[in-house]
Symmetry: C2
Subunit: 161 residues, 2 copies
C-alpha cells in the first residue's frame, strides 16, 4: 500500500497520515503557527531548497491546510496562512512536541505554553474527557470501533495478502 | 536538511518527527495499540511487504518504541509490544485521528473513546490545562520559546541559506 492509498481506509488516522504523515508538512504548519509566514523565512528556518519548499506549500494549499495571500504588489509576494483546517493541527503539534520533550532528555523544553484562562506559565497540555475533565490515557478509555471499521479490519486480515 | 538531521534542532517537534514523522511508524503504533501484535496480522492489515514491515519494526525497536517478545518456541515466533515510550504516542494518535474525523467528512467516526472515569460513551478527547482544566487552543495559550530555541531560530534565519 502506498501512502496516497491510505486515505481509502476506514480509519481517520490513516486518512490524516495520507495528508500530513510526513515530517515536512507538520514542520511547515509549526512555522506558520509561530508566524514565520513568508517564503524566505520558511526556507531559511527549514533548510530546504526553494523548489522543494514550493512543492510542499502547493500541496498543503491543495489540501486546504494553507492559504496564500499577497502582501506586496510589485513584484507580487505571498505569505502563507493556516486555514481553519490547518489550525486544527495544533493539538497534533502539541502532543508530538510533548512526546519529544519527554523522550529526548532535554533539561528544559524549548517551547512552553501558558494558559490564558488561569495564567499558569506552564499549562502542560494533556488530553481530557469533555464530560468530566478526567485525564485520558490508553488505560482510562474504552475504544469502540464502528461496524464499518470492524468489517474492514476483518476483511483485510482474512483475505489474501 | 534531511529527515535524519531534524533531531539535531533545538525543537522537540523536529526531534519527534525525526523518529516518527512518517505514516508507517504511526500506523504500526496504532495497530499495536489495537492489540494487533503479530507479524502476519500487521502485514495483512497494513498491506505492506514482509521485508518493508520487518525493516520498520526493527527501526521502531532501535528507537525503543517497540519491544519484541517470543510467544512461541519451535519455530520461534515474536510478537511486538509498545514500550512506555511507544505508549506515550497515544495522544498523538488520538489528536491526528480526531483531526481526520473532523476534516474527512465521515458521518460517524470509525473509532470512539469512552471515559472509564465517568462512563460517558464518547469522551471527545481534547487538550486541557493541567492547572485549571480550561480547553486549550492556539488562542487560549501564550507560547514562550527557551533562549536556546530563540538563538537557534535567529541564527538560521540570519545566516546564509
Amino acid at each position: 500500500m502506498k501512502r496516497s492509498e491510505l486515505g481509502g481506509l476506514t480509519c481517520s488516522l490513516a486518512g490524516a497520515l495520507a495528508e500530513v504523515g510526513d515530517a515536512w508538512s507538520l514542520l511547515i504548519v509549526k512555522e506558520l503557527m509561530l508566524r514565520n509566514r513568508r517564503f524566505d523565512g520558511l526556507a531559511a528556518q527549514m533548510g530546504v531548497s526553494d523548489s522543494s519548499l514550493a512543492g510542499r506549500l502547493r500541496r498543503l494549499e491543495d489540501l486546504g491546510i494553507v492559504a496564500r495571500r499577497a502582501y506586496q504588489d510589485r513584484p507580487v509576494r505571498y505569505e502563507y496562512r493556516l486555514t481553519e483546517k490547518g489550525e486544527g493541527l495544533w493539538p497534533v503539534l502539541v502532543t508530538l512536541t510533548t512526546w519529544g520533550d519527554r523522550w529526548q532528555g532535554r533539561e528544559t523544553p524549548p517551547l512552553v505554553y501558558g494558559c490564558v484562562a488561569c495564567g499558569v506559565p506552564d499549562a502542560r497540555p494533556h488530553l481530557a474527557c469533555e464530560a468530566c475533565g478526567a485525564l485520558l490515557s490508553p488505560r482510562a478509555v474504552t475504544a469502540s470501533q464502528s461496524p464499518d471499521m470492524q468489517a474492514e479490519r476483518a476483511r483485510r486480515t482474512a483475505g489474501p495478502r
